[in-house]
């Protein structure tokens, strides 16, 4: 399956993360921990499912008040952030 954007992080390294409902993330490989807000948590879960940007946008719009263009922008920015921190 191909993704619409090349800037997505490696899903395997995202799958190793321990996530809590309150937004606490623990990376067992590096020992680092993080806090995500609720939208970040939702996005991380969607990206872990290997969905592409279009699919993610649709799923976000089902849950949040958000324009497709804002969603696309924020998704790709957040994906970049995941890549920097978990690869």
């Amino acid at each position: 399956m191909t993704r619409q954007t090349l800037d997505f992080p490696n899903v395997e390294s995202l799958k190793r993360l321990a996530l809590s409902e309150s937004g606490f993330i623990f990376d067992p490989v590096t020992g680092n921990s993080f806090t995500v807000n609720h939208t970040g948590l939702a996005l991380l879960q969607l990206i872990r499912q290997t969905l592409d940007v279009g699919q993610i946008t649709k799923r976000l719009q089902a849950e949040f008040v958000i324009d497709a263009s804002v969603a696309e922008r924020d998704v790709s920015e957040f994906a970049g952030l995941l890549k920097v921190n978990f690869q």
Partner: protein
């Protein structure tokens, strides 16, 4: 998949913040968590709508309060005190005029500043004229109008002597001194050095002149000086030199001018303690200066000789916190190293002091999301255009407005007209009214001074090349 009856949640920008365990918070105390949407009770957002962004906003109330606090701090500790407003710190006419109304003289360092003070109705006799270069025309005007001229170097003594002779008038002068206080780096390029004997030589030279009369001593030991002991040393050294010069020449020193340099409530780069914990109050500066002066003039007082007037040229500490810059976010990005960055519509073109201060940055509205390390860039195509290289802020969206403060000192004078128009400056008056004190620039502000030779005007005689 879509359930139409489902209530959708509001979207906030997703954020992710690493926990830095055991790492000291290098940003110092977090000052950014609050927001502020008004100046002296006047809402800022409507001002941005009306006058555009970016926008400088001046508080008349704060400026007057600062002037009164400074005067109170010194006048309660020394019999004769005067303040000269350092024009270079902020020479907006409104700022200068408020301070003149509060009793300040004008302290100028160029012909342009001298003209500006005169145009505001300040008589020459209430102008202190400093600086290393005073062109002959303005030197003559200053001598004629009775300005308080402070000589910087030997050639200037000769120049003023010629001017005085031409006017057939004996001119009172001060000399600028430089010396080592033991606490500050000596600004030895300005004035006459005390330790080397150059200052006493200058005093002797003036004493021997038919046309000049030494009546004052001036020095300015630096800027943003946090250690009040530097001022105590300065005051003591100047008072001792006064005694010496009066004893060795027949002059009578009427004033000691200690210059400016009091720190404002701003955060110097590289200093991690917040300004509230570091910056001395006017009372603390006053206590140090007048304490040293009282001590050094004990014999003089006992002998019934007059005490000199104490002159201050306080600049940044007077005006810095009386003005803010408001700017909007025009874009955001994620840097390759993971840091968040925002692009603002104001940069170092308007906030020259961003080169040495970490200004406080506050959103106008509470922003959702977890604060994270953010770089704030200006709009210029220059790598050095950085408003804050690291500040903790929640996620920013295009259009969000930020207040940058304090911004009253040196920005409205050192700002550059580089690729952008300079924006409006408005003042919230004591009565709560909003006045434009400098209109936003238009193209004519620059083009009116240019002259395009006939042969370069369109249509070009030969048409346009292919």
């Amino acid at each position: 998949m879509n359930a139409p009856e489902k209530i959708l949640k509001p979207w906030t920008k997703p954020s992710l913040s690493p926990h830095r365990v055991g790492v000291m918070n290098k940003f110092g105390a977090v000052r950014q968590h609050h927001h502020q949407d008004e100046v002296d009770g006047v809402a800022i957002e409507p001002l941005l709508e009306q006058y555009g962004s970016p926008l400088f906003i001046l508080s008349e109330k704060t400026l007057r309060e600062n002037a009164r606090r400074l005067r109170r701090a010194f006048a309660t500790r020394w019999p004769k005190v005067r303040h000269g407003w350092s024009y270079k710190t902020n020479y907006l006419n409104a700022v200068c005029s408020i301070l003149h109304q509060e009793g300040s003289w004008a302290e100028v360092v160029s012909d342009f500043e001298y003209h500006k003070a005169r145009a505001l109705g300040v008589p020459g006799s209430r102008i202190i004229f400093n600086g290393p270069w005073k062109p002959s025309a303005i030197l003559e005007q200053a001598a004629r109008e009775g300005a308080q001229i402070h000589l910087d170097h030997l050639d200037e003594i000769y120049a003023l002597e010629q001017v005085a002779k031409g006017l057939n008038k004996k001119v009172a002068v001060g000399i600028r001194l430089n010396f080592d206080t033991g606490y500050t780096e000596s600004w030895s390029r300005f004035g006459f050095n005390l330790e080397s004997g150059a200052a006493m030589d200058a005093a002797q030279r003036i004493a021997s002149s038919e046309w000049l009369n030494l009546t004052g001593l001036h020095s300015h030991i630096g800027t943003f000086i946090l250690d009040v002991r530097a001022y105590a040393a300065q005051a003591r050294i100047m008072a001792e030199f006064m005694e010496k010069v009066e004893a060795e020449t027949a002059c009578q020193i009427e004033y000691l001018d200690v210059g400016g340099g009091f720190a404002s409530r701003n955060a110097l780069q590289g200093v991690y303690l917040p300004p509230d914990q570091l910056v001395p109050s006017f009372d603390q500066y006053a206590e140090a200066i007048t304490g040293a002066l009282l001590e050094a003039t004990r014999a003089r007082s006992a002998a019934g000789q007059p005490l000199p007037t104490l002159i201050l040229e306080t600049g940044r500490a007077m005006v810095d916190d009386a003005e803010i810059l408001v700017t909007r976010v025009v874009g955001g990005k994620r840097l390759p190293d993971g840091r968040r960055a925002a692009i603002l519509d104001a940069g170092v073109n308007l906030l020259f002091t961003a080169f040495w201060y970490n200004h406080e940055v506050k959103p106008l509205r509470p922003l959702d999301g977890i604060p994270e390390e953010t770089v704030l860039y200006g709009p210029l195509c220059m790598n050095i255009d950085i408003v804050r290289s690291s500040v903790m802020l929640p996620p920013l969206n295009v259009g969000d407005a930020l207040m940058v403060r304090p911004a009253g000192a040196y920005n409205n004078t050192q700002w550059m007209q580089f690729i952008q128009y300079r924006p409006a400056v408005v003042m919230v008056t004591q009565a709560g009214k909003v006045e434009v004190v400098r209109a936003a620039e238009r193209l004519s502000a620059i083009n009116d001074f240019e002259r395009l030779p006939e042969s370069l005007r369109v249509p070009f005689p030969q048409g346009l090349p292919e």
